[in-house]
Structure formats: C-alpha cells, structure tokens
C-alpha cells in the first residue's frame, strides 16, 4: 500500500464518517458543520485524482458559498429547538433497517461486478498538456456547450419561479 492509497482511505473514511454524523446529529448547525467536513474530504480525494481545479471549486463553492447559505437559512428559520423523531414505533424501524440492508446488498453486488480499472492513465498527459483548468473548461465549452447553455436557462427559470412563488402579495 503506497502513500496515496493511505491518504485516500484516510479521507474516504473521514468523508463517510462525517456523512453519517451529519445525518444523525439532531442539531442542524452541527449537521451543516459535518457536511463541510464531508465536502472537504471529497475535495481531498479530487486532489488525489489530479483534479486540482475541481478540488478548488469544491472548496470555494460547496464548502464556502453554499454552506454559508445553509447556515443563514438555519439561523433565519431559527431551527434546532424541538425535535420529533422521524421513525415512530418499532415497525418503521424494521422497515428502515430492511431498506438499508437492501441498499447495502445492492452496493455489494455492484461492487463485485464493477469493471476493472481501465487501461493506462489517460488523465495525466491531458493535465500536462492543458493544465487543470483547461481540462475542465474545454469539454465544458465545446462538447457540452449546449448542456451548459441549457443549465443557464434552467437556473434562470428556477430563479424566476422562486420569485413568482415567494415575492407576491396574495
């Protein structure tokens, strides 16, 4: 096991553990904090994959901007005082555990049938020739330019929709 594998398992473990902690905390502020930790660990895994630019984006956008938004919403809604458990009664606990087991079995089957790591490393030469930003930007604005434009329209529609629903005298 070389050092990069060790680093991978370290960050993957932290990501999974803080993911679990995030959904089990009762205080939403703690949940948000654990989400930051998860996102940071995933960013570290991006670095291991030589996707430095993606890692930077991950930290700036998700761990930075979006998380601040979450905290604002939690603060404004004044959440985190009274809790009602989602699972009431034993029956639903069993249903939940059963569903979890099914998902776990699916994961197991998928992992067993996952294709082997494919051939030579294609990413490294690409990164050398184009740099980390170019490797992201070029497909984004050439092959997937239509998808990028449609995403722009999609975000605009979501914004217009939010304004229509929220900012109107009834």
């Amino acid at each position: 096991m070389d050092i990069s594998q060790l680093v991978f398992y370290l960050f993957a473990g932290v990501a999974v553990a803080s993911g679990v902690l995030m959904i089990t905390r009762k205080n939403p502020v703690y949940s948000a904090m654990y989400l930051v930790l998860t996102l940071f660990s995933v960013a570290a895994i991006y670095v291991l994959l030589d996707a430095h630019f993606l890692a930077a984006l991950q930290i700036v956008i998700y761990a930075g901007a979006i998380l601040v938004l979450f905290l604002f919403v939690i603060m404004l809604l004044n959440l985190g005082h009274d809790f009602v458990p989602d699972l009431r009664g034993k029956f639903w606990w069993f249903v939940g555990i059963g569903l979890g087991l099914v998902l776990f079995a699916e994961l197991f089957v998928l992992a067993r049938n996952a294709p082997e790591a494919s051939g030579p490393d294609v990413l490294a030469p690409l990164l050398r020739s184009q740099g980390a930003v170019g490797a992201v930007a070029e497909p984004l604005f050439e092959n997937y330019v239509v998808a990028v434009e449609v995403t722009g329209v999609l975000l605009l529609v979501a914004m217009v929709g939010a304004v229509v629903i929220a900012k109107r005298k009834v």
Binding site: E106, N113, A147, V160, G161, V164
Partner: protein, 497 residues
C-alpha cells in the same frame, strides 16, 4: 442545409426552434418587468407568447429541410423530433388561448405565467429531441421546474399550493431515480450519447450495472408519465393546478416524457428489448387496469379526467412495448388525438367551473344538456373520443395501438386494452348521462365563453372528428416521421421466444 455536429456552432442551427422560444421568453420577461399589473398587460404578454410560439413553428418548419451528417450529435434532427415539436408548440398555443379568460377570472395576471409556459416548452422540446442523456435530464428539469411553479401559480388557492408541493416532492424524487439510472447506463457503456450507446450493449451478456440502470430509468419514467404504481401524485396535482395547467400537464408534459421514454428505450436500448419488456409489461398492465377501476367512483370531474389520463398512459405504454414502427407511429398519432380531446375537455371544465373553480363535481353537470346545449354537446364529443368510440380520434388511435400490439405479438396486452376500454365507457358515459338525463340541481347561469376559448373548442373538435373520419394522411405523416428510427423491429421478433 447539412448540419455537421463536429462544428459546435452548428448546434445553434440545430436548436433554432428552442433558441427562438428561449429568446422570446426572455423578451417577454423583460417586458413584464416594466409592465403594470393590469389584466390588459397580462393579455399583451399572452399574445406575445403566441407570436413567439408561431415563430418557433416557422423555425421548426425550416428544420424539416435540414439534414444531419451523422446520427451521433447531442441533438437529433429527425422526423420524430420535428413531429413532437409541432405537437408541443400546438398544445402550448391551445393552452395559452384557454388561459386568457382564466387568468383574468382568477386574478393571476402575472406575465411570468406565459414566460414560464414557454420555458416549459423549451424543456419539452429538448427532452424529446435530444440524443444525449445529459441533455435529456436537463430538459426534464427545465420543464419540471417551470411546471412546478405553474401548478402552484394560484397562491390564493390552498389546493394549488398543495398540488404544487406534492408534484414538486415526487417530481424531485423521480428525477433522482432517472439520474441514477442514467449514471449507471453511463457507467456500463462509457457514453451518454444514445446513438453510440446502442452499438455498445451486447444483448447476449449485459452487465448488472446496465440492468440496474434500465430498471431505475423505468421507475423514473414511470413516475414522470404517471404509470401505476407511481401515479399517486397525479390526481392531486391535476385537481389542484390551475385548469389550463392541468390541461398542459395531461397533454404536453405527459407526451414529452413519453417521447423521451421511447427515444431511450426503443431507440437506444432497442436491442435489449428482452431485458426491459417484463417491467414495462407489468407497468402497462397495471396502468390500464387500476385507474380505469378507480375512475368509476370519482365524483370530481378534474379527478375523473386525471384518472382517465393515467389510463391513457397505459395505452401508450402498450405502443411503447410493441417497439416497432407501427407502435411508434400509433404513439404519435394517439398523442395528437389525445392532446386535442383532453385540452378541449379541460377547456369546457374551465369555463363551467366559474370563479374560484367552484363547480367541479359531477352533480354540477346534471341537466347541462338542456341549459347549455352547446357546451354539453362539445364535451360529449370529447368524452366519447376519450372513451374510444367511433367515429372519433380516440377510436382510431386505440385501433392503431391495438394493431401494433398484435403485430408485436402482445395478445395479452391487447385483450386487457380492449377490456379496460369497455370498463372506461361506464365513467365517461356517466358524465354524458348526467348531462342529458338528470334534472338540473343548481343553475349554472350565464357562462362567459370568450372568443379565444371558442376558437380552441372549434380547433379541438375539428381535430377530434377529422382524425376519426380521415385518419390516413395524419397516420402517414406519423409513420414517415418514425421511419428509420427503429431498425430493430425485425431483430426484436427474432429475440422473442
């Protein structure tokens, strides 16, 4: 003109109708931002949206003369896309027409209504015309987000908010299924392009990842086209939404989801027919039987039409599973017929409901044949057509679907289709009986029939009757549009035991 997708600028030409619609919707939004909140301004935006829609139709006609160099671009330029584009644009125009009076009556005079409607149409056209999973998903979301807002547009009405919330939650949930399915197909094939994907899957030995992807996609699409058992959101969403939007939901949105369903399953995964026919068979069976039975006891006309719309999704699933050219041609034909009759029926419901959408119960329709003979007669035509009685479009549509199913050797589904159609006569005819043979309970009084609404009714009746009497030319067009789309019809016949 020849489009070569290796030159990325050519996408602009290939997407001309969508571009026109988006630009028009943006201009309308800008105009609305500076307009005052009056009903005349809202009407101006409505007329503007009709202009934009007709420009897009012109662009779509221009697209008919365009050739594509290869069949692997992100966007398809084929008869299927052009046909469905016409359908969506036409349906949207009908919905805009019936919205004029409704928005004034219910005080929903925000111009965003029409802009969002246009954006939803952009989403639908991308959905039906894309050959790439990423674009299909983005089209889905674009359409859905615009429609979630439209369903909840009437904020004075708590039913509208409830419908929007239910539709939003289940829609987001089903999008996750779709996305997982697409991710797995991508993982199994290494491409998101449907044209390339087709050649990569080997029907003999398919990886379990691909099978999981197909299953998840089927579930996601099941939600989107409201197939049983994923239909529970439909009656609530249809009942609570503003009535023009209900017509839009029932006609265009279901049609676009089905169009993408067919493009992915029949065109891209056509060689894997044996893998997905089982799940679609069950969906089709349940979707024909369950809603037709539940509809028997419905007392609210909008809910009744909602269940009828679910049942029609079942009939369309039969056309899908047949996976041959007749199936797809009958699918397109049925969509046109269904759009005309369901929009027409909802237009009548909308006008009769009166301010605040009060009159929606079947008992409100008692005696309508004598107090409002024209409305009752026109509604009867649509109901008869939905039921599938000759000489209407519904009969011919069902006939061709049956033919396609028998051609593909699905005798069991054909029998169920016929039997459930017979069951459905009961609840369609119940409305007609109550209109003509029951005494009037509560006087409806004068109903304002605006010119736009009358025009829509005339168009819908004309299409319904025309397709029922002279179906050969439209069917020929439908058949020409799907030509070459499914080179699998023969192979499927070999694969089936």
């Amino acid at each position: 003109m020849l489009i070569d997708f290796s030159n990325h600028l050519d996408y602009l030409w290939a997407l001309l109708p969508e571009t026109v619609l988006t630009a028009g919707a943006l201009i309308l939004l800008m105009y609305d931002g500076f307009a005052r909140r009056r009903s005349s301004d809202s009407r101006a935006v409505g007329w503007g949206s009709l202009v934009v829609l007709s420009l897009a139709i012109v662009a779509n006609i221009w697209l008919m003369g365009v050739e594509e160099a290869s069949r692997t671009g992100m966007v398809a330029i084929d008869g299927y896309r052009i046909f469905t584009n016409f359908l969506f644009l036409g349906a949207a125009a009908l919905v805009v027409f019936i919205s004029f009076d409704y928005t004034t009556r219910e005080g929903m005079t925000q111009g965003e209504f029409y802009a969002l409607l246009l954006f939803a149409v952009v989403g639908m056209m991308l959905l039906a015309g894309s050959r790439d999973l990423i674009l299909i998903f983005l089209g889905f979301e674009l359409m859905s987000i615009a429609v979630y807002v439209l369903v909840g547009f009437n904020r004075r009405d708590p039913r509208s908010a409830e419908a929007a919330l239910k539709y939003f939650l289940l829609g987001a949930f089903s999008s996750a299924f779709l996305l997982y399915g697409m991710a797995m197909l991508y993982g199994a094939s290494g491409t998101t392009n449907l044209g390339i994907m087709r050649g990569l899957f080997d029907a003999g030995r398919l990886s379990i990842v691909a099978i999981a992807g197909i299953a998840l996609l089927a579930i996601g699409f099941g939600f989107k086209v409201s197939a049983v058992p994923f239909h529970v959101w439909t009656p609530d969403a249809y009942e609570g939404a503003p009535t023009p939007i209900t017509a839009f939901l029932a006609a265009a949105i279901k049609a676009s989801a089905f169009a993408a369903f067919i493009r992915i399953f029949v065109v891209a995964l056509g060689d894997l027919h044996e893998y997905w026919e089982g799940i679609i068979w069950v969906l089709a069976m349940l979707t024909m039987i369950v809603p037709n039975v539940i509809a028997l006891v419905q007392d609210n006309i909008k809910r009744l039409l909602a269940y009828s719309s679910i049942a029609h999704a079942g009939y369309l699933l039969v056309a899908l599973i047949a996976a041959n050219e007749s199936g797809m041609a009958s699918f397109l034909f049925y969509l046109v017929a269904y759009t005309a009759m369901i929009v027409g029926a909802f237009a009548i419901v909308l006008a009769l409901a009166g301010k605040g959408d009060e009159r929606q119960r079947l008992s409100d329709y008692a005696g309508l044949g004598w107090t409002h003979p024209w409305a009752a007669a026109v509604l009867s035509i649509f109901l008869v057509s939905l039921a599938g009685l000759p000489p209407t479009a519904g009969f011919i549509g069902k006939f061709y679907i049956l033919q396609a199913a028998v051609e593909a050797d699905y005798i069991d589904l054909s029998v169920v289709l016929v039997v459930t159609t017979l069951i459905s006569y009961w609840y369609y005819l119940r409305v007609i009986v109550s209109m003509y043979m029951k005494p009037c309970v509560a006087e409806i009084g004068r109903v304002p029939w605006g010119a736009a609404l009358r025009a829509v009714l005339v168009v819908c009746v004309a299409i319904t009757v025309y397709l029922g009497i002279l179906p050969s030319w439209p069917l020929l067009k439908a058949r020409q549009s799907v030509e070459g789309l499914v080179p699998v019809a023969e192979q499927v016949a070999d694969v089936r035991p």
